[in-house]
Symmetry: C2
Subunit: 411 residues, 2 copies
């Protein structure tokens, strides 16, 4: 029985019916609906003969033994954000199931093949994304902090995990899962507009952007909107406004896909009758090259100091979070490129703006690559998220070809 990409599309629709509602997907990790999805997945994989194991971090593994213990991994995540889309995360899982079926039908593979459904990629309930993959990668270093986290109802993260059989103190034992891994493949919707704007179904992902995320606080002086002449003001909003516009020439100057976003400004006192005293501005900067990312940050800091001097206000920076760029494996990128050309004729290489479990696996030293399939209107994390059915089918084919080429290369 060969590959049936149409079946993947039908199964994704089935999963949507089972675990979504009129507002979208509801497979938030560490909930009953998520367990329903995992149980449903278990049933789908059963016929392949792959053996299930849930590791110490809650990741769900299905292993098809091969001639060698060395393992090729295919990964995705069946959890979603609340009111999420029908493809984010679970496309990878279901395409992986279809590839497993094709391999199982072909007889014992040269390498062991493992499908992993990572636990809590989205971090929707507790605000900690990439939970399961960071545990397996050994990069989870925030367990003390995680112990304090609570969901919106005040339930502590360790208590919620325990209900799903996971002991936070032992989550890092999941690291042993990657010991035998020689390659990691992940297919994902792009969640951005690049492939659609180029009219291409598929792309090879070069790596995930490094991220610098800061809160910038501008401090001026509150003053009455009526009684304070324009030249006597120290307006904190002016600093934030200048920087919100300046990040665009900065991104253009650094180039090579650089993105900078000011996602919000909170003004205090924030009333119509007062000059803004304090403006708290969010800034997110991303680049695939570590040096370029550092340059984005230093240019923004220089600009902010210039603006503070111009406006006679103060500026201070606080890092919220950062991660270095993670580059995928050159040899696997070549194989992915060939696989896409086989299926669609043209391949495009692009960085990933969002993080993915693949980044954690790559950080752990496992050769990794990702495929992107076009997203309509770049929308994700909404029920409006969509991809053309023919593109979904092509993406399953491309993942299958990439798996076959990788098995051949590494056998």
């Amino acid at each position: 029985m060969g590959l049936e990409p149409k079946r993947t599309v039908a199964e994704l629709a089935e999963l949507r019916e089972l675990t979504g509602d009129e507002n979208g997907a509801q497979r938030v990790a560490w909930t009953d609906t998520w367990e329903t999805a995992r149980e449903w997945l278990r049933g789908k994989v059963a016929a392949t003969g792959a053996v299930e194991e849930i590791d110490e971090a809650g990741n769900q593994w299905f292993t098809l033994a091969g001639d060698s213990d060395k393992a090729l991994l295919i990964g995705g995540h069946i959890d979603s954000v609340p009111n999420g889309g029908w493809l984010d995360g679970c496309l990878n899982v279901m395409a992986g199931v279809e590839v497993l079926r094709r391999i199982a039908a072909d007889g014992k593979p040269p390498l062991t093949v493992r499908l992993v459904n990572w636990a809590d990629e989205e971090g929707a309930r507790f605000g900690r994304s990439l939970f399961g993959s960071s545990a397996a990668a050994g990069s989870m270093r925030d367990q003390d902090e995680l112990r304090q986290r609570r969901d919106a109802n005040g339930i502590a993260l360790p208590d919620a995990l325990r209900e799903h059989g996971v002991d936070l103190d032992r989550a890092l034992d999941a690291q042993k899962q990657l010991e035998s891994a020689v390659a990691y493949l992940e297919l994902h919707i792009e969640q951005g507009p690049v492939l659609e704007s180029m009219d291409l179904p598929l792309g090879v992902v070069l790596g995930t952007f490094g991220v610098e995320r800061h809160q910038i606080t501008w401090k001026g002086q509150a003053a009455h909107a009526g009684s304070t002449p324009m030249d006597k003001r120290r307006d904190a909003l002016a600093g934030a406004a200048k920087l919100a516009l300046e990040i665009r020439p900065i991104a253009a100057e650094v180039g090579e896909g650089a993105v900078c976003t000011s996602g919000g400004v909170v003004c205090k006192p924030g009333i119509v009758t007062s000059v803004v005293e304090t403006a708290e501005q969010l800034l997110d900067q991303r680049h695939l090259n570590a040096g370029s990312l550092a340059r984005l940050l230093s240019l923004a800091k220089e600009a902010s100091e210039r603006f503070a001097a111009e406006e006679d206000i103060e500026v201070s920076w606080e890092r919220i979070w950062s991660i270095e760029p993670i580059l995928f494996d050159a040899a696997l990128i070549e194989l992915a490129d060939q696989s896409i050309r086989d299926v669609s004729g043209t391949a495009h290489r692009l960085p990933s703006g969002p993080l993915h479990d693949a980044a954690e696996v790559a950080r752990a030293g496992v050769p990794t690559v990702m495929l992107f399939v076009q997203s309509l209107r770049g929308l994700s994390h909404t029920k409006l998220e969509d991809t053309r059915k023919e593109h979904l089918e092509m993406s399953v084919e491309a993942l299958d070809r990439l798996t076959a080429k990788t098995l051949e290369e590494l056998a």
Copy 2:
């Protein structure tokens, strides 16, 4: 017994002790502390022989009968914002008491002289400023809306007023108080930095600014901060940022004291990982000239449409509130100017950015003028509000001279 300006300063300090705490003045209208202040004021005026009357809007009048029924009014407000300053509003009242004492000591005046302590100038509890003066002026046209207003504890405005003897339905009967008025004089702290920056103790107020107050909504498209290239964004914050900066050249172009303030921007979704979809921006524009005010507004609207086109976003305007400029009486401005020169040698003429009860009285057709005394650092509505004692004393002298000159002129 002549004028004793030092006594006014001492009485203001006494009032601060009686009705303030470590956070500042607490004489919020329609509270027990406000009643305490009114009772204390009653005691201070008693010796002058002025007759007290509380009108249908809660305004407290003290009338010293003169040879004519035509009345010269001196006005202020003893109510404060919570955690307010020791001078805002009550300086005018207490300076007026001192002037009443001087006049009473001099014998029956040629005109009737009335001191009014306006009810609820600040609107601190129910968000409706100039309550008493707008009722007396007959410009209160929002009684239906006022009936619905509640304070932070859910108490309805009409119920709170009733506890202080005021029936909202009859508040406009206070209009009869202005029938005999031939002049209205008000002294106030500047609440801005202009006089201090010119090193002048006193100024003549030309009128109160007209105000245009709008909420501007910019609508773009939420998009992932990592996966959306810079040239594919429709960033609502960019529109707000451009306008926050553009209002400065617009104010400079219109000139003559024009002020424009963007007091805040609220961004949605307002998260670090998303381009801003919606930015709600506050804009306040003020000018003493109605045509110039209209020009400020039209220039800002034109600019906003240009920015919306540049950014491929939408912009819409909603008026929050507006008021026309109110010009004070030319003859009284001359008398005020002379009075200040008599006391301090130099007078400066300036508009008032904040509204005052005087604006309501002027709208009602009573010839009106205000005196400003320097505010230190332009601060008001905070316990840090202050004015040098020698300047306070000069301001009492200036009000007294202005009263004397006005009586002489109109007798």
